[in-house]
């Protein structure tokens, strides 16, 4: 059972994807049932594994493809963080997507690729070595493309092309990096397995320069999905996708896959201590800091809600890379916990943006005036998400910033504090005007395009409740941060296992 559980987790979405593709378009109820059952089942399976890992159980599945190249699915504390995030948010996004796409064409195709996308994310989370990681990383690119171009308009096809150019290019660079790793350093395949405290520290010093080069090749490959400047161009363009897709791309699947990959490379391939000695962490930290500031500056200039959120993602995801570069347990906790915190906060914000667009036809920030009175719950959720991103306590974002800040000081990189604070202020600069428009401006003209009239609730229940749920999570993750079952405590566990051999 312990060997097959990771396979089952992967299979829940993979089989669902196949079944949905086979199922004709008109079987709506069956498809919904299938989707939700799979999502719930996966959460249960992940929960079982989380409990097991807390008690030091190993879950590993291994299949030798070629001599020296294994397909490994393994659950460790870090993979469970990502798998937990994906499985929970998958459930909410599925519910949201059902409401969002009600009556739209091609839903079978949409949900099929949606499941495939989550299957790839699960694979990335559970990948036990670089090779397995690479396979699912590429699969993710292929499964998200149909979602980005789902609407089939000229604009979305163009965005899809850009998306493919960037991500396939990044995938190719990553492939080169992995190949270099297997060819030059690790002919046996044992060192590219992800292991706590890393595997490369024993490499003789003549090869250190090679290792540093390979490190940056890997980062360049992963950095496209993680939207590191200057590789971030695809992200704002991909905003033409439907809201649940944007939510998923931004909060969980694509950008997180990149960030998660960076964390994996630093912690589980190189080992943070060894990477620190190699001197590769400081350049990456500087690059991440530039991304954080640049993304915020660009977000300030945007006039569309989703575009602004997109640049905010560029900025926020780099917190994870930044945290991974801070040598010391507190910084590690900050980076890893932000993987989860950013996910729940950003998904909330995108759900809200989708609600405004679907319910009232609002796409531009200037049209949001007085939306707070019309859609109070959505607007409260947006406000919580926005304040969380700024880093105002007691929301999740504060916890991340607090740990990143203290971690930076512990690592002797006090300039990072300046980056964090400047970023917080820029975040305030582009989020507070929206919050102000929601609550403090009053509505003078009719809504741009009101689709869903105010009924018992402000909008369709399937759109509203996932939004509320993720907003509650963003609040709870910060409010109960010190609780034993909080994301923070789980990240501390990961950090302990990384630093205490």
């Amino acid at each position: 059972m312990t060997t097959l559980l990771p396979v089952f987790v992967l299979a829940t979405s993979l089989i669902t994807a196949v079944l949905i593709f086979v199922l004709p378009e008109r079987h709506i109820r069956l498809r919904i049932g299938l989707n939700l059952t799979a999502a719930l089942l996966k959460i249960v399976l992940v929960a079982v594994m989380v409990a097991g890992i807390a008690n030091q159980v190993d879950y590993e599945f291994r299949y030798e493809l070629l001599p020296g190249i294994d397909l490994i699915l393994r659950a460790d504390a870090l993979s469970m963080l990502f798998a937990g995030l994906s499985s929970v948010l998958w459930l909410f996004t599925t519910v949201y997507a059902i409401g969002y796409l009600e009556g739209a064409p091609n839903r079978s195709r949409f949900f099929g690729f949606f499941s495939l996308c989550v299957a790839s994310t699960m694979g990335i989370a559970l990948a036990g070595n670089l090779f397995t990681f690479l396979i699912f990383f590429e699969l993710l690119t292929l499964s998200t493309y149909p979602l980005v171009v789902h609407r089939g308009t000229e604009e979305s096809l163009k965005a899809g092309r850009t998306y493919l150019q960037y991500t396939l290019g990044g995938g190719a660079v990553l492939l080169v990096g992995v190949a270099l790793m297997y060819g030059l350093v690790d002919q046996t395949g044992s060192m590219t397995e992800f292991a706590e405290t890393g595997t490369l520290a024993a490499i003789p010093s003549e090869q250190h320069f090679t290792l540093a080069v390979i490190f940056f090749v890997l980062i360049a490959g992963l950095g496209v999905k993680a939207a590191l400047v200057p590789l971030h161009g695809w992200l704002p363009i991909a905003m033409v996708a439907p809201a649940p897709v944007s939510a998923l791309l931004h909060a969980v699947a694509v950008v997180k896959a990149g960030a998660f990959g960076i964390v994996r490379v630093i912690y589980n391939i190189y080992g943070v201590e060894f990477a620190w000695q190699l001197g590769v962490l400081l350049p990456l930290a500087i690059l991440a800091s530039i991304t954080i500031i640049w993304g915020s500056l660009r977000a300030l200039q945007q006039v569309e809600v989703k575009k602004r959120l997109a640049y905010s993602t560029v900025s926020q995801v780099s917190y994870i890379a930044l945290g991974a570069c801070l040598f010391g347990p507190v910084g590690t906790i900050g980076g890893i916990v932000h993987l989860l915190h950013q996910g729940i906060m950003k998904v909330t914000l995108f759900f809200c943006a989708g609600n405004y667009a679907e319910t009232l036809g609002i796409h531009k920030i200037k049209d949001l005036d007085g939306a707070g009175a019309r859609m109070p719950l959505t607007s409260i959720a947006f406000t919580l998400g926005a304040f969380g991103m700024i880093g105002v306590p007691p929301l999740a974002g504060f916890i991340s910033k607090w740990y990143l800040g203290i971690g930076a000081l512990d690592a002797g990189m006090s300039w990072v504090i300046g980056v964090l604070i400047l970023s917080s202020m820029l975040n305030a600069g582009y989020f507070l005007p929206i919050v102000y428009r929601l609550w403090f401006k009053s509505r003078r003209e009719p809504w741009p395009d009101e689709h869903i009239p105010r009924g018992r609730f402000e909008t369709h229940g399937l759109l509203l409740w996932p939004t509320v749920a993720t907003a509650v999570f963003s609040l709870a993750a910060g409010l109960f941060a010190a609780h034993a079952w909080s994301p923070l405590s789980w990240s501390s566990l990961i950090a302990f296992r990384e630093y205490l051999p």
Binding site: V392, P393, L422, M425, F440, A481
Partner: protein, 440 residues
């Protein structure tokens, strides 16, 4: 009485703080007229608990909830309890003022429900931060107060109010940024590489800052960060803009209670007293004295040219806070005298809170009344005005004498006469205040 005793020991502090927050959920546009009592009721539980606590000889009163935030630790700090008492009383009084307004037609104003919600949120933050003992929850409540007060400042939605709101929020965000960096930096030293707790108690901060090699910079960040709230000269711009445009009761709490939150932040986090021994912080302490003097007299000069009574009062608050800053700086320089200075600061801020509150209410009363009643109010308003000036037998004289008695023995040179001359500044401002009140 044993029941009361039991209650005092069993009711955890968070419940008292959360109570106004719960009330927020019950504010609704249609029922605002009948919900004015909430504003009066909101601070009452804390007030009662505080009075009971005094009545039972100030027992140790601590609530710890280790799984909330980064470990909640809330207590009634005996040294700051007078400020807490002043704050709760002022909020109750101001709440009564709003209640009265709502009964006499104020409920028809636009955005009144939003105003009430922001009021309760600000109140939660203001009262809560005075009992918060750990850094994380202190900063949480401080931020809640800061952001919620925006709704009070811009309530009237006039052009001036919106401009004041903009200045307020920009300064507030800058202040929060300075504050957060100072707190993180200090906490990193206080935690000293330990994983838990990463958000130590506020009481650990001064020692950690004093022990740190960059302590001066950390202290400067905190000093400036809290300075935005405390109306420090140079960071005070929001005060004279916000007070004239905010509704009268909101100005009263803004100037009487909220401004003291910045001071409390200073008192809790800065390395004062024994931690300043050795003169490591002499540079910032001198800066505090200088900025305090600039505030105390500069605000008076600006204030006498102000066109509105409430703006005069705002400048008066900057001026009074300047005097408190001078006191703080002096006590910081002469660490042996700190305990006496601390007592003087607490007395001074309680005295200022009450009297300034009443003067703000006065603006509203005089505006609402006419004829003989207005004259009567004007005469009665002389009492808080004379108090602020510090004429003999007033609370102002008592507060200032506490401080003067301390510095009389210190080699402060000209500071003694200059500080005493502060009364002239206050007198000028009070004359202007009455002049403007009579004109209306």
């Amino acid at each position: 009485m044993t029941l009361l005793m039991y209650l005092l020991h069993q009711v955890p502090l968070p419940l008292l703080v959360i109570f106004p927050l719960v009330l927020v959920a019950f504010v609704h546009t249609n029922t605002v007229r009948r919900r004015g009592w909430m504003l009066i009721a909101a601070p009452i539980p804390m007030l009662l608990a505080l009075l009971l606590w005094y009545g039972y000889g100030q027992p140790e009163f601590v609530t710890e909830v280790p799984w909330l935030m980064l470990g909640l630790h809330w207590r009634i700090d005996p040294a700051l309890a007078p400020i807490l008492l002043m704050t709760t009383l002022l909020w109750t009084a101001a709440g009564t003022y709003v209640w009265q307004q709502l009964r006499s037609g104020g409920a028809e104003e636009p955005h009144i429900a939003r105003y009430l919600r922001c009021w309760l949120l600000t109140l939660t933050g203001n009262i809560g931060l005075l009992v918060a003992g750990d850094i994380a929850s202190f900063y949480t409540l401080f931020a809640l107060m800061t952001f919620a007060a925006f709704g009070l400042v811009i309530h009237t939605q006039t052009k001036n109010a919106l401009f004041a709101g903009k200045v307020y929020i920009v300064l507030a965000v800058v202040g929060e940024g300075l504050l957060l960096s100072g707190l993180i930096w200090g906490a990193a030293h206080a935690a000293a590489g330990e994983l838990t707790p990463t958000a130590p108690l506020l009481t650990h901060l001064p020692g950690a800052i004093a022990a740190s090699a960059q302590g001066v910079w950390i202290a400067l960040l905190l000093f400036l960060g809290f300075g935005v709230k405390a109306g420090l000269a140079g960071l005070h711009w929001w005060l004279p803009l916000a007070h004239p445009v905010a509704p009268t009761p909101a100005s009263a709490v803004l100037s009487g209670a909220m401004i003291k939150a910045g001071l409390v932040g200073w008192l809790l986090t800065l390395p004062l007293g024994e931690f300043a021994a050795g003169g490591n912080f002499a540079s910032i302490a001198s800066l505090a004295v200088i900025l305090g003097l600039v505030g105390a007299f500069g605000a008076a000069i600006m204030g006498v040219f102000a066109k509105k009574a409430k703006a005069v009062l705002a400048y008066s608050s900057v001026s009074q806070m300047g005097m408190i800053t001078v006191m703080l700086g002096t006590g910081w320089l002469y660490d042996a005298a700190w305990e006496a200075v601390f007592a003087a600061i607490v007395v001074f801020s309680v005295h200022h809170g009450f009297n300034k509150g009443v003067l703000f209410f006065g603006v509203g009363w005089v505006g609402a009344l006419s004829g003989r009643a207005a004259t009567l109010i004007l005469v009665l308003l002389l009492i808080p005005a004379l108090n602020l000036i510090g004429v003999p037998f007033s609370s102002g004289e008592y507060a200032k004498d506490l401080f003067k008695a301390v510095i009389a023995d210190l080699p402060v040179g000209l500071l003694y006469p200059i500080f005493s001359a502060g009364a002239l500044a206050t007198t000028a401002l009070m004359l202007r205040y009455f002049y403007l009140l009579r004109k209306t």
